[in-house]
């Protein structure tokens, strides 16, 4: 029931890129993202590769290159990121393919899984990277000290 590190690290990376989007707008080298978020470079590279294929980030190759969001932070949802890295956010497989479960139409469990599936997706799709930036800004304003290094969760 836990998210794997793919989803968790992916959100960290995307949040990092959302901050960069506001600040410099330039591409961020893998190494910089990995250091700020304290993630292993080669592993993060895999995740960013998947996010690129999913159309959520784009890359600039060669020196001074790096990764950047493919569109504005308010147009990327947490759900898009998680589904790209984790696959369909379904509790059970029988919801994924159309014919994954033969008895699908008359299964007492199915409605339960459907409700959870819809609920989870509705929530994660309602939160954009921009929302996360704002929420965190508000949170920081309330607390006193500023500290923008490595916050995991």
């Amino acid at each position: 029931m836990k998210l794997s590190t793919r989803g968790r690290y992916g959100i960290h990376a995307m949040y990092d890129l959302a901050q960069a989007w506001r600040a410099t707008r330039g591409p961020q080298p893998l190494k910089a993202i990995a250091q700020r978020q304290r993630l292993s470079e080669p592993y993060l590279e895999q995740l960013l590769g998947a996010l690129r294929k999913g159309g959520l980030v784009r890359t600039v190759r060669g020196a001074q290159g790096g990764y950047m969001l493919s569109r504005a932070p308010e147009e990327i949802t947490v759900g898009q990121v998680l589904r790209t890295l984790e696959g369909d956010l379904a509790f059970v497989e029988c919801l994924e393919g159309e014919e994954a479960c033969d008895k699908s139409a008359r299964c007492p469990m199915r409605l339960v899984w459907q409700k959870v599936h819809e609920g989870v997706n509705r929530i994660v799709d309602s939160i954009t990277l921009e929302d996360m930036l704002k929420d965190y800004a508000r949170l920081s304003a309330e607390g006193e000290k500023t500290d923008d290094t490595h916050l995991h969760g």
Copy 2:
């Protein structure tokens, strides 16, 4: 992100016991439950053991014994079953213990995980075994053939 077989099989077993509750009220032997739900006996035994410790089923030992719900189907929620077998339904660990995440108070990710956590729990706690029985009865009424063997999902 998938439920493990523990949660899935557990719901099947509890649904089976909910049906039995209405019909006979007598304890159901492990073997009978396993056969109806097509689950491995020794494995199911583990799950029922956990459900017993969790207070959701009670047992009658000795010959003619078996497992039965510890209270009425309308008083047992899907959430109780899943949490008993899967642990806290949290996307990330930092929500579980109080001090699992040191920076908890000012973490940009935390609010996201909290919202999902609350959403999932609200949904699974809103569905009782009785609801499942009713939903399935309605579903069966709509379809024509009756068939109460092994429906997985």
